[in-house]
Amino acid sequence: MPLLELRNLYKAFGGLQAISNVSLTVNEGEIVSIIGPNGAGKSTLFNLITGVYRPDRGDILFQGERINGLTPDQVTKKGIARTFQNLRLFTHLTVLENILIPQHHRLKSSWLAAVLRTPTYLKEEEEMRKTALEKLSFFGPRLMSFRLHQPVYVLSYANRRRTEMARAMATDAKLLLLDEPSAGMNPKETKEITQIIRRFRDEGGYTIVLVEHKMNLVGEISDRVVVLDYGEKIAEGDYKDVVNDPKVIEAYLGRREE
């Protein structure tokens, strides 16, 4: 059974067909990249999977269960977490708080127990902190000491991207949807993030779907590449095959004038 399965998805915004007839399966432990020119519908696809939008037609199955129609928080509880193309961190909260909030949905204590600080609640809180540090440790020590207690708005751009990824991981998801994880990073940071994404899979056991524009990153880590253009899937397969596909070249470069 595939971890995630999209069956003939359609989504239109008014007259604009943002996604049309997209089918896709993602198996456990895979790293799948979605590429395509600007406006191809990559982010829209993520929004459909995570319940931000409802598909007009088609089905989304996660671990064999239909999840279309669920709200984003319910989707997250099922085990899908995402990052956003334009960072959406809790800007005025600290790094630690940012990574604690995604664990809130797993909290069993009631709000009254939380106010009274019952032993169960304190234990859960302790666990949450441990998990937060564990997720941050993927990114080395840079976010671990004093930065933990700094508000996000003082962080550098690359650190914010890292915080957002740690935040998605902290939801306890199986599947991570990363929307342009390397946007705004320099070559060195991109290289580092490439390795980290691979470690997400190898050490963290996550399955990963990512949207990327940086082809060297895509080529280096993807098990499979899917190409979208004008909302349609125009190619799928190995990185080398896909980039040499004439349809893909046409989508990126335009048709050669005859």
Binding site: T50, V52, T71, P72, D73, T76, K77, A81, R82, F84, R88, L89, F90, T91, H92, L93, T94, E97, L100, I101, P102, Q103, H104, H105, R106, L107, S109, W111, A114, V115, L116, R117, Y121, E124, E125, M128, G140, P141, R142, S145, F146, L148, H149, Q150, P151, R167, A168, T171, P187, K188, K191
Partner: protein, 448 residues
Amino acid sequence: MRNTLLTLATLGIAVLGLYLLTQAEGSSGLLSAITLIFIWGIAAISLNLINGQLGILSLGHHGFMLIGGYVTALLMLPERERAPFRTRLLSDWARDHLDLDKWLRALGLDYVANSVDLKFVIALFLAGIAAAIVGVIVGAPSLRLKGDYLAIVTFGFGEIIRLLPNAPEVAAFTNGPLGIKGIPGNAGGVWWTFFAFLFVLWFLSRLKFSSYGRAFEGIREDEIAAEAMGVNLAYHKVLAFTISAFFAGVAGGLYASYLQSVDTQTFNFFVTFFLLVAISLGGLGSITGAVLGTAIVVLVRIYGGFLEEAYPAYVGYTGAALLMLGAFAFSAYIRKARRLRPVIETKHYIFGALGLGLLLVAFLFRGEPWMTQTVQFFGMRKILLAVILILIMIYRREGIMGRAEFSWKLVFGPREDIPTEEQRKQDAWLSNPDLNPDLQKEDDDASA
């Protein structure tokens, strides 16, 4: 450990100070000011839960307080005040049955019924519950509406609740425009409100620094992201409204008991307005700020009375002139602090000169009849508050405290968010290739 001791010491000093104050002669004015700060403080902290922590502008807080006030009033009204001529519009049923004393005695809890204090605790709790139930209803639209639209809806709810007691059908419970009079005052005086205030402060700070509080703040920061991270928006919004309404109801009950009466004018929109001023002044989202802001607002309202007395006109002119000169100096100070050039603009010079001129006029013509006739400005306190608010909004939008909370760590350290020398060095080692040869190698790899 140290922090607990400091907190206990502060509490001890507060209790001692309050005790000495209650014993001192002629302190009743100050004591009632303190009582009001506690009561309005509770209301402000609870409003801050919605407006500051959840980030939803709610304008219906007076409605919750009114419900708490009426419930407390009705339940606590002593037998002799229930005489038909005093409660003309109250239905016989409500007069005879909505009586906490009777309920308790029916349950055989006579020793509770004999203590006004215990009865008061129960009445306040029930007042909170009643307000909380309405809070659920008012909170529900917040699931579909956002921003200004939601603010208008909460305002509408607040006004509906305020006007309801006058409706003939409801008057059977509220005694209509006559209101309810003769409620027993806070039995223990200022102590009552003091401990209620401490409890609410404790409760809502605990809530704020719990996982639920973080979820609220996540919603404030970015609703879409919070939802994507698994926070159930509907549940948390309604929860915040309910808890906030509960404590608003308690504050309303305390206030009714402070005034020993309630009617429809007790809780009008100005109540919410003053609370909004208080929390905006103190810093939206900060409990410390809410308390500070409340203290300022209450003190201005109580001790600002001299602003509204009758004075000879030249006092008014002098006051206006001094204000203008003060504004002149203040603007120069701000511009200097912000390193703006020129420090004093031409228009500021003109403004300052006008102030000086006015001062001169007031001095030179102080004997003239048009200068000695008395004038009186009503509403000066409200104007002063409005001016303070405007200044805060222009020069420090985030309020006195911003989003920060008072904590002993903030004052005495250690500050965890500021790197120690060692951490700073380690950080530099991690990120600066000039110091760290490993990084240099990676750099070459990356560019290769």
